[in-house]
Symmetry: C2
Subunit: 766 residues, 2 copies
C-alpha cells in the first residue's frame, strides 16, 4: 500500500496538505476582584444559552465556554477567540474577569458552586450525574479543545490516488484513526510543552493527596479530569472503538458516550453508532491546559505547532498499535508529573520527532514560518525553563502564590479588553461600525460570517433566519430607492421640499449662462455656490453676505470647473445637528464642535492639546477610534494666529480656544450627545423626513438656531441640509461628552426582532 507521504508527494498536494479547518472551544471560570469564584449568574446580556453558538456555560454557571466556528485558518481562529474574549470581558460586570489558568482559584463550598442553569432537562441531569461521580470541584478544571479537520478536497484527491480503500468514508476514517492513534502515542510532547497546571490549592482535593512539588500538568495527570479506571475503549478499528464505547455505557461505567474523556474524540456524528456508516468527519483534541501567558488561553504559535504535529501524525509511516498507545498514555502521565524545570525523560524521542517534522516540512511547503515554529519547540525541549509550566513556576514564586499570579493576569487581560471598547480585537481590520455590530451579534448569539472584509459584508444567522449587512447598517430592511434618493442631493431636496419640509432655497443649474441669469434670485440673500457633487469642498463659494453680481458670476464659473451641474443655495446659519433615525425613532442626536481646548490659566495650548489627546477615545492611528487626536499643524496654528495665540500661549481659565473652523471629528472635533436635550418637534420632523424618503435608517442633518424653541409648521425652527444613507454609528457609541448610544444593537434588534422575544422567555426549550 502507498503511504500517505507518497500519496501527497505523487499528487503534488504538498501545499494542500496544510489546508485545514480549525475550531477552538475554551473554558474558563469567572473570577471576581478578590480572586474568588464569581457566583453571580451567567449574564442575561449573553442572550439565550439554548442556542448561543459562541458563548456558553460548561459544567458550572460560572464556567464560561467560548466556542469559535469552524474556520479555514489558524489566524482566523485566533482572531475569533480573541474577539469572543473581548465580548465577554466587556460584558461581564466591572469586578469580574476570566481566570486564566486551568486549575481553579480557591473554591467555595461545593453547595455554593452552581451547576449551569440550562433550559434543557437532559443537560441538567447529565451535570447532576457528573457531580455525583466526580464532585463539583473537579468539574471546574478548565482547558482548551482543538478541533481539526483536513480539507475535504485534499482528502478526495488522496482517496482518488490510491486503490486500497474503495469508499471515501473508509479512507477518511483510516486517516483520522491513524492521526488519533499516533497522537495518543506521542502526545507526551504536547504535555511537556503545553502543560500549564503546576500547582493547585490544597482545598481542591478532598479525597486525593496533593502532589508534593510543582509538576508540569496536574490537569493532564491522574489528578486531573480522567475517567474512572474501569473505563477502557479500543482505538484498534472504528468498529472496535464503537463497540467498546457502547459497552462502557451499557455497563454503566459511563453515563453517556460523551463522558469518555479521551485526549482525542471522533466527531461529526450524533453518536458513536453513526461513525460506522458516516465515518469520522474531524477530531477533537482535548489535552490542552490553558496558557496563562496568552489572553486567549492558547497562543497562535501553539495552534500552529499542534497543526504541524497533527499533520506529522498522518505523514509518518507507522501507525501506533494499541500497545504503543498504552505506552504513549503512560509517557504523557509521566511527563505531566515531571518537575517543570527538569529536562524531559523522553527528550531524545522528542528531538527525533522534531527532526522528522522538519523533514516533512522540507519535503512539502518548505515554509520558513513552520521551521521557525519547530525551532521554538526545539529550544523548549532542550531548555525546560522556557516551557509554559516553568515560566509559571518562576512567576508564582515571585508573586508568592499562584492565586496572586493568576489574578493579576486576569485583571490585566480584563483591562486590555475593556480599554478600547470601540475596537473588537480579531476584527479590527473592519470599519468601526461593523466591529461594533459583530460585537453585539457575538454577544447575543447571532451567527456571524464575514462574507467580504473589503466590503464590510456580513451574513448574520439565527436558526433559519438569515440577514445580510453591508457597512454596518445597509440591510434588507431598507428599500433600494431610499439610499439612491439620499445619494442625490437635488432629488432629496426636491422630495423633502415638496413634502413641506424646510430646505435651503436654491436651484440646480446645468449651464453657466442659466446660472448667471438667475442672479436676481439671490442678490438679497446669503448663498452658497457649489458643484452638485461636492468633493473635499472644491469649487464652493460661501457668501455670508448677499453677493454682488461680479462675485456671484465668478463663483459660478469656479463651481462649473468642478462639475457639470452647480447648486446655488441659501446659506443657513445656526448649529448643525446629526439626527440618527432608525426604524421610526430618533436613536441619537449628535452635535459636533471643532477641535478645541479649554484654558486653565496655567497650561499652554500645546500642553492642553497634549492632555486632551491622552483620552483613549482619541486613537493612535487615524480612523481607528471614535475621536481623533488634535493636530498642531499649519492649519491649527493659522487658526490660533487669527485669534492672537501661538501654541505657547496660556489661555485664561475656562476660555475655549478653537484650533479648527470645521467641526469634523476627523480633524480633532468633539462629539457631544444631545439626544435628550433637543425639543421633540425636531425629532418628529426628522422621523417624518425619513418616512418621506421611504428610509428605515437615515442620518438627517438639521441646522437649528435654537433647539429649545419648538419647531412649528408655519415657523420651522430648522433647515434640513442633508439626509445621509449609511450614516456612521460608531461616533454615537463613544462620545466626547454625553451618553453613548449603541446604535448597532438597535440595528441588530431591527433585523432580528426574535432576539427580544427570546429574552422574555428564558424558560422555553428549543
Amino acid at each position: 500500500m502507498k503511504t500517505v507521504k507518497q500519496m501527497i508527494q505523487e499528487t503534488e498536494m504538498s501545499k494542500a496538505y496544510y489546508q485545514a479547518v480549525f475550531g477552538i472551544e475554551k473554558e474558563g471560570l469567572r473570577v471576581n476582584d478578590s480572586g474568588q469564584l464569581a457566583v453571580t449568574d451567567h449574564s442575561k446580556k449573553f442572550g439565550n444559552r439554548t442556542y448561543h453558538p459562541y458563548i456558553q456555560t460548561d459544567y458550572s454557571e460560572s464556567q464560561l465556554e467560548l466556542i469559535t466556528p469552524p474556520l479555514n485558518s489558524i489566524q482566523e481562529s485566533y482572531n475569533w477567540l480573541t474577539a469572543l474574549h473581548d465580548v465577554v470581558l466587556q460584558t461581564l460586570p466591572e469586578d469580574e474577569a476570566i481566570w486564566p489558568i486551568s486549575m481553579p482559584m480557591v473554591l467555595p463550598n461545593e453547595k455554593d458552586i452552581s451547576v449551569a442553569k440550562l433550559d434543557n432537562k437532559a443537560d441538567v441531569l447529565y451535570r447532576e450525574t457528573l457531580t455525583r461521580k466526580y464532585g463539583k470541584k473537579k468539574q471546574m478544571i478548565s482547558g482548551v479543545h482543538y478541533n481539526f479537520e483536513l480539507d475535504s478536497q485534499l482528502i478526495l484527491r488522496l482517496y482518488e490516488s490510491q486503490t486500497e480503500y474503495t469508499t471515501l468514508t473508509s479512507f477518511k476514517s483510516m486517516i483520522y484513526l491513524k492521526l488519533a492513534k499516533n497522537f495518543l502515542r506521542y502526545r507526551w510532547l504536547l504535555t511537556y510543552l503545553l502543560g500549564a497546571s503546576p500547582i493547585v490549592d490544597e482545598s481542591f482535593f478532598t479525597s486525593q493527596e496533593l502532589p508534593k512539588k510543582y509538576v508540569r500538568s496536574i490537569r493532564s495527570s491522574h489528578y486531573g479530569y480522567v475517567n474512572q479506571s474501569e473505563v477502557s475503549v479500543s482505538f484498534e478499528t472504528i468498529e472496535d472503538y464503537v463497540q467498546s464505547l457502547q459497552n462502557m455505557v451499557a455497563k454503566g461505567f459511563l453515563s453517556e458516550e460523551k463522558e469518555f474523556y479521551s485526549a482525542v474524540r471522533f466527531r461529526g456524528t450524533k453518536d458513536a453508532e453513526e461513525l460506522l456508516t458516516k465515518g469520522i468527519s474531524y477530531l477533537e483534541l482535548r489535552s490542552f491546559d490553558l496558557d496563562p501567558f496568552d489572553s486567549a488561553g492558547m497562543s497562535k504559535g501553539t495552534m500552529e505547532f499542534v497543526h504541524l504535529f497533527c499533520l506529522y501524525m498522518i505523514w509518518m509511516d507507522e501507525t501506533a498499535t494499541m500497545k504503543e498507545i498504552e505506552i504513549g498514555e503512560e509517557m504523557s502521565q509521566l511527563t505531566a508529573m515531571e518537575n517543570p524545570v527538569s529536562v524531559s525523560q523522553f527528550q531524545e524521542e522528542g528531538l527525533e520527532l522534531l527532526k522528522q517534522m522538519e523533514n516533512m516540512i522540507h519535503l512539502t511547503t518548505d515554509s520558513e514560518a513552520a521551521s521557525r515554529c519547530l525551532q521554538e519547540v526545539r529550544n523548549q525541549l532542550k531548555n525546560p525553563t522556557l516551557t509554559i509550566a516553568a515560566r509559571m513556576v518562576q512567576e508564582i514564586e515571585e508573586k508568592g502564590s499562584y492565586i496572586e499570579f493568576a489574578l493579576e493576569l486576569a485583571k490585566q487581560y480584563k483591562d486590555e479588553a475593556t480599554k478600547r471598547p470601540y475596537n473588537l480585537r480579531g476584527f479590527d481590520y473592519l470599519e468601526m461600525s461593523t466591529q461594533l455590530l459583530i460585537f453585539d451579534a457575538l454577544q447575543k448569539g447571532v451567527q456571524v460570517e464575514v462574507l467580504d472584509s473589503q466590503d464590510q459584508f456580513l451574513k448574520l444567522t439565527m436558526g433559519q433566519h438569515v440577514e445580510f449587512v453591508k457597512n454596518g447598517n445597509m440591510t434588507a430592511k431598507d428599500s433600494y430607492i431610499a439610499p439612491l434618493i439620499m445619494e442625490n442631493k437635488t432629488v432629496t431636496k426636491k422630495i423633502l421640499d415638496s413634502a413641506g419640509f424646510h430646505v435651503p432655497a436654491g436651484e440646480e443649474y446645468t449651464t453657466i449662462d442659466e446660472a448667471k441669469a438667475a442672479f436676481w434670485r439671490y442678490k438679497n440673500k446669503s448663498v452658497v455656490v457649489k458643484p452638485k457633487s461636492t468633493n473635499y469642498g472644491l469649487g464652493i463659494s460661501i457668501f455670508k453676505q448677499a453677493p454682488v453680481k461680479n462675485d456671484y458670476e465668478q463663483a459660478i464659473e469656479i463651481a462649473f470647473k468642478e462639475d457639470i451641474a452647480v447648486l446655488v443655495e441659501e446659506y443657513i446659519s445656526g448649529t448643525e445637528y446629526r439626527f440618527f433615525v432608525l426604524d421610526g425613532k430618533v436613536s441619537a442626536i449628535l452635535l459636533r464642535i471643532p477641535a478645541n481646548v479649554v484654558g486653565d490659566g496655567q497650561k499652554t495650548i500645546k500642553e492642553l492639546v497634549q492632555d486632551k489627546n491622552k483620552d483613549p477615545l482619541r486613537g493612535e492611528e487615524k480612523h481607528r477610534s471614535p475621536l481623533e487626536k488634535i493636530a498642531l499643524g499649519e492649519i491649527e496654528q493659522l487658526m490660533l494666529k487669527g485669534q492672537g495665540y501661538t501654541i505657547e500661549s496660556i489661555p485664561e481659565k475656562d476660555k475655549r480656544v478653537y484650533l479648527r473652523e470645521n467641526s469634523n471629528i476627523s480633524t480633532g472635533g468633539d462629539s457631544i450627545d444631545v439626544t435628550d436635550e433637543i425639543d421633540e418637534s425636531y425629532k418628529k420632523a426628522a422621523i417624518r423626513m425619513t418616512e418621506t424618503i421611504g428610509a428605515k435608517i437615515s442620518g438627517i442633518d438639521l441646522i437649528i438656531p435654537d433647539p429649545t424653541i419648538p419647531s412649528e409648521n408655519e415657523q420651522h425652527g430648522y433647515t434640513v441640509i442633508e439626509a445621509n444613507f449609511n450614516p456612521a454609528m460608531h461616533m454615537h457609541a463613544y462620545v466626547y461628552k454625553g451618553k453613548g448610544r449603541r446604535l448597532t444593537m438597535e440595528v441588530l434588534n431591527m433585523l432580528f426582532p426574535e432576539l427580544n422575544e427570546d429574552v422574555s422567555s428564558t424558560g422555553k426549550t428549543h
Copy 2:
C-alpha cells in the same frame, strides 16, 4: 403709479421677467388610412380617462386632447408635446393617425360621430348640450390652448416694489388682466401669423355658406367655433368679468361658464366666483390653429413668439379699454378672413408692435435668440407668402385638395413617430430603458416628473401613490441589500453556492503567495484567472485547457496588477443566456450572439454587413438604439482573416460568418428572444436564485450547454455566472429575432398594481 416696465427695470428683474410656466393642450382628430374620421373607440391601451392627466378625449370619442403638465420652459413643453404624440401614434392601430389641421376631414353623418364615452355623467350632459347648440360638426374643430403663468417669485418681487396694490392677489390679477386686455386688442397679429385653416370641405357647414375663397383662418373667423351673438362678457375689471359671465349663465346664453369661448380665459380657480378672492393664477390663450407644418401642432418658434408677445402685453404702458378690445376683436376677425397671400391690412401696426417688442428685449435680456424670433415674424409680416396659411394654400393647390395635403402629413408624422419605437422623442436625452418606462407611464396616465436627468431619476404618481424610479428599474420594491449583494461577485457566489446553486468552483485570493499555493486546486481544470473587480477584461487569463504551473503563476501575477483581490474560477463552456427575473417571474430570456452575417452566395461580406446595418434597430449613434451597427474595423478584419476571409469574400449561401468573438450587443451582436424555448426547470432555478438574493428584479446569467434537457437538483444543467442588479430592459423590448418583451410595462404594473384594477372597472366615477 409705476409702470410695469419701470418696476422691472428698477428691481433689476429683467432676466426673471422671462421666467414662466407653460402648459399646452392640443386637440386633434383621429383619421384612418383613407382620410376618414376614425370612428373606433378611444384605445383601452390609454388606461382610464377618468384620471388620465395627459391623453384625453375632447368633445368626440375620435378627438384626442393631449395635455402637457405645467413646465418651466418652452423647450420642456415642446418635448412633452412631442413625446405625447409619439405615445399616441405608436399606440393607435396601424391604420390610424392624427389629423394635423384644425378643420376636419370630410365628416360622416352626424349620427356616426360618437360623443366621447366618458364615465362622468356631467361631462356627458355638457357634450349633449353643445351638440344641440352648435351641432356635432362644429365641435370637431381642433386647436391649441396655450397656458401661461409668470414666475411666482417675479410677481412677488414686483409686488414688493410698488405701493399702489396692497394685496399680492390684486396685484397679480391686475397684471394678468392687463395681459388679457392687450392680448385681445392685438391678437390679430397672431391670427395673421398662425391662422392655419384656409379652407374646409363644403359638407362641413350645414346652415352657413362657405367662404368663397381661401382665408387665413376659418376657425378664428365668425365661421369658427364662437359663442352665439348674445354672449357678451366684460373684461373691464375682475368684478365686471365675474358678474357678466355669471349673468350670461343665469340668462341661459351659456350652459356653463366654461362654454364661454373667449380667446383668453382666466384660470386657477374652480369657478369665476372664486376669482374674486383668489385672483387670477394664470391665463389660457385659446386662439391658435393647428400648425400642419409641425408634427406637434405648434412649433417651438411659435411658442417662443407667443411668450414674447405676452410679455410685451404686460410691458407696454397702455392697457386696452373695452372699446379698444372690441376693435381688436374686429381686427382679428378681419385678419382671419383675409386672403392668405395678401399683405395684412394692419401691417403698419404690426411692424410698430414688433419694433416695441425689440425695444423691450433690448432693455431686458438683450437675447439674440429673441431678436431672431422677432426677425422671423417681421419677415412674415412683410412677406405674407411666408405665413403658415399661405404655405398651406400653395401645397393644397399642388396636391389638389386639402384632404390630400393633410392626409399625407398625417401619415408622414405617424411614420416618423413609429419608425424608432425604442426612442421617445422629447425624452431621448435619457437612457433607453427610462424612455420606455416614461412611454408606458404616459400611455397609462401615470404622472411623470424627471427629478434628475443625469441620474435617470423619475417620480411617478397616481393619485396619492408616489413611486420613485432610478435607471428604469431601481425602485422601492427591491431591498437595499439585494443590489449590494449582486454588486459583489464574491458575495453573490458564496450566497448562491451555499443555497445549493451551481456556481463555477473557485476562490478569492488576497495575496500572490496564497493564490500560487492553491495551484493544486486547479491543475486538472479549465480555469479563468481574473481581478475581483473586472474592468474591460484587463488582467484576465483564460485557460480552456488546464494550466501548467508556470502559466498559472504568471496569470496570477498579471491579475494582481489590476486589483488587490483575485478570483480563480472554473472555466465553463456552453451558451450564456440572460434571464430577466421580475417579481417572481422570468419575464424574458435573451441569447446574444456575436456580430455575424449569413452568406447568400452572391454578396461580399462588406455588402452583407451594409444590408444588415440598414435595420432601423441598429441606430446611427452608439448606445441610442437596441442594436448597434456592425463595424468593419481592425478587430473584425482580424477575425475574418482567422477564418480565411476578407471583407471582399463572398460566403456561400446560408454560411454564417462571425465578425466578432464576443457576443456583446454593443459590438454589433444579435439579440434573440428565447423566452418560450427554454425548459421550465431553468426558469424555476433563476427565480429561486433571485429569491435567495432577496431581489425583486435581477438579470441572471446562466451558461447552459443544452437548454432542452431539464436541469435537475443532482445534475444541474446550468452554471450561474452572474446576478445583475439594474439589468438592461431595452434590449429585450426590441430584439433582432423573436418576440419583444415590454419589461418596462411590467415594472410599471409592479409599482402600480392599481393600474390593472382600473382597467377592469371602466364604469366607475372618481
